[in-house]
């Protein structure tokens, strides 16, 4: 349920960034060193990774016809991949 307000903020950010036609420098100057953005997107990535891995597990079981264990392992793997890549991306954008 925390995802609800976060997605709204994220959508606002997308519309803001695209309307200003921000360059990479302009974006990074706004985000680098910002603890707020770092925390916000860090938590967003964590929640998204959990949510996506649960969904992927269900789909692998129901549509992929995989056994529960296999589906669970693949889903955890996917979740960890999302978490690592996501946090790396957040770090890339906010680290000063």
């Amino acid at each position: 349920m925390l995802l609800v307000p976060m997605i709204l903020v994220h959508l606002a950010v997308i519309f803001y960034a695209t309307s200003q036609n921000l360059t990479a420098d302009a974006i990074l100057s706004r985000t680098r060193g910002s603890v707020t953005w770092g925390l916000f997107y860090g938590i967003f990535v964590l929640l998204a990774a959990i949510h996506a891995s649960i969904g992927v597990r269900n789909i692998l079981q129901e549509w992929g016809r995989l056994r529960d264990r296999t589906a669970g392992q693949l889903a955890v793997l996917f979740g960890v991949l999302l978490l690592v890549l996501g946090l790396r991306a957040v770090a890339a954008v906010v680290m000063p």
Partner: protein, 116 residues
């Protein structure tokens, strides 16, 4: 069995569930790519800038519009399910589901128009 064997699926709410699942799959495929792209900033702003210039290609803009649609439709569909499973029961769910899909399309269209 035959062409009519899945006729029970011909209803709005079943299709809303299908849209929810397909949009979820779409977003799950997109997320790692999104993160990798942002990760380019690790090796300097110039690298990210180069990627951002790519997004001005019409085909990428079209893909972004579709992604906005997927995100909003998955978000609104999820809201409907949250309300339905946790709140008091409400009727008129077909309409709510259709409005969710419509709003997602409109938001995506606004996104597209502003970029053009």
């Amino acid at each position: 069995m035959s062409s009519t064997s899945h006729a029970y699926r011909r209803n709005t709410l079943w299709n809303a569930a299908l849209v929810h699942r397909l949009s979820g799959i779409g977003l799950a495929i997109f997320l790692p790519i999104h993160f990798l792209a942002l990760g380019l900033a690790l090796s300097g702003a110039a690298k990210l800038e180069g990627f951002l210039r790519l997004t001005q290609m019409p085909v990428v803009t079209a893909a972004e519009t579709i992604l906005i649609f997927l995100l909003v439709v998955h978000f609104l569909g999820g809201l409907r399910l949250l309300a339905l499973e946790n709140g008091p029961w409400f009727s008129g769910q077909r309409r709510v589901a259709l409005v969710a899909i419509g709003v997602a399309a409109v938001v995506a269209l606004i996104f597209l128009v502003r970029l053009l």
